[in-house]
Amino acid sequence: MTVDNPTTGAGRPPGAASEPPTGPPTTGSTATRVLGVITLVGIAALVLLGVFLTPADAELGDTIRILYMHVPTVSTAYLAFVITAIASVMYLWKRTEFWDLFAASSAELGVLFFALTILNGMLWGKITWGVFWRWEPRLTTTAVLMLTYVGYLAVRQIPNDTRTRGTISAVIGIMAVVNIPITHKAVDWWRGLHQEKTIFGTVDPDMKGLQLFTAYLGLTVFLVLFAWLLIHRFRVAWLAERAADVGVDAAIAERRAERAVPSSAGGAS
């Protein structure tokens, strides 16, 4: 058994960067800049269409405008968690740092999009029901699942060597994604006894024309936004790991130099 050292982070991957970085590291590249521009233009178009240009719904009224954001955020969040699960399986198989950090980055964004979903769902509830929270099945499911993934992120916060952290979080990533359909079913049946106006369910907005276009635009824009953020988040995570490695190497070199000074100057390797 290796003794893990919380400060030095034992278990460093063998191929970790050893050359010092030249210049300030950046997470931007041509691809992310293109994605960024598309996202910003898309969001501007979505706001214009969703808030001003589309007509109000016959049944839902102006609250349909919240759906243009609600549906994309919740769909993106689920996609993020599926990506986390796939990356977790890949990590247990390949054991590379890439999959571990990829899973973590995706989960973090998933929680963010879930939080947005709950927020815009609550705004919809305040207008429709007069209260922020009712035990509407979809919102309830979202809240429970979000807490599951908050646990995942909490595990990653604990200092540990990378292999332990990777394995444990991969196991959680897989356990949690399987829970999504089961929780869905359970909450549906649980609330099945008291059916009420849901954010999309009993009242299925009959969208057409510009409304339908805006709905799909929203979905596309949020997917691009997710891809953009995911790449950046992953690169930040990667650089953070490298920075930790470099910090440790520098500290070791310093100590060696200190020891070497009394006997022969500059003997540190």
Partner: protein, 221 residues
């Protein structure tokens, strides 16, 4: 299979000798039954209406304590490494842990059921459904709990993290078991067996996942 029985009997013998479950978890669960009576005025009939929910919330809390205990004994003195070197199949160790946990949980539930019957004046109308729900729900709790217990034991602040990790995952179990009990108590009309089926799916899915994931947890974490 023999390995699983070996691990299970080891765990149960350990429990029998240390009496942590009987001496600590069981009194705790009875205490919560009393606390609920203080919190929800027994005269207003609230207790009567929420009995099945309270029952399962108490079971969930007790299960967290039990799972924590079941794996902290393995974490001490490098026993994890000993288990790893013992040549037992990880899936068998997992099955043994789940079985031991399920047996202990069922014992707690049996005592709790008597306590609820006495203190909250509850009658279980359909005993078959009651036992069915309890059995399947308990296997589900143990199946997911054993995985999370094993990984929490490897983490520095695992004890405080375990409830956060485990309880959201067990939300479907709480829903299914509570509703199933509601039917068994005659509070709610309608068939109770769909809930047993839901609980069964949960149990099977997590038993399978646990058996697969226990090897990386044991060997690489």
């Amino acid at each position: 299979m023999r390995d699983a029985v070996l691990v299970m009997t080891k765990d149960l013998r350990l429990e029998w000798r240390s009496k942590v479950g009987i001496g600590q978890v069981l009194p705790f669960s009875l205490l919560v039954v009393l606390l609920f009576a203080f919190a929800l005025d027994p005269e207003r009939g609230v207790l009567d209406r929420v009995t099945s929910g309270l029952f399962w919330v108490v079971v969930l809390f007790s299960s967290v304590l039990m799972i924590e205990r079941a794996f902290s004994v393995e974490a001490a003195d490098g026993i994890f490494d000993a288990l790893r070197l013992s040549g037992l199949a990880p899936a068998a160790i997992y099955a043994g842990k789940v079985a031991a946990l399920a047996v202990q949980l069922l014992a707690v539930e049996a005592v709790l059921a008597v306590a609820v019957a006495v203190f909250y004046d509850t009658t279980f109308r359909t005993p078959v459904l009651t036992v069915g729900v309890a059995l399947v729900a308990t296997v589900g709790i143990a199946a997911a709990g054993a995985v999370y217990g094993a990984l929490a034991a490897r983490l520095r602040s695992g004890t405080t993290l375990l409830p956060l990790l485990l309880l959201p995952l067990l939300a479907p179990v709480l829903i299914g078991a509570t509703r199933g009990f509601e039917v068994a108590l005659g509070r709610e009309a309608g068939p109770g067996w769909p809930w047993v089926a839901l609980l069964g799916i949960f149990a099977v899915v997590y038993l399978t996942l646990g058996a697969l994931l226990f090897r990386p947890l044991l060997e690489d974490a």
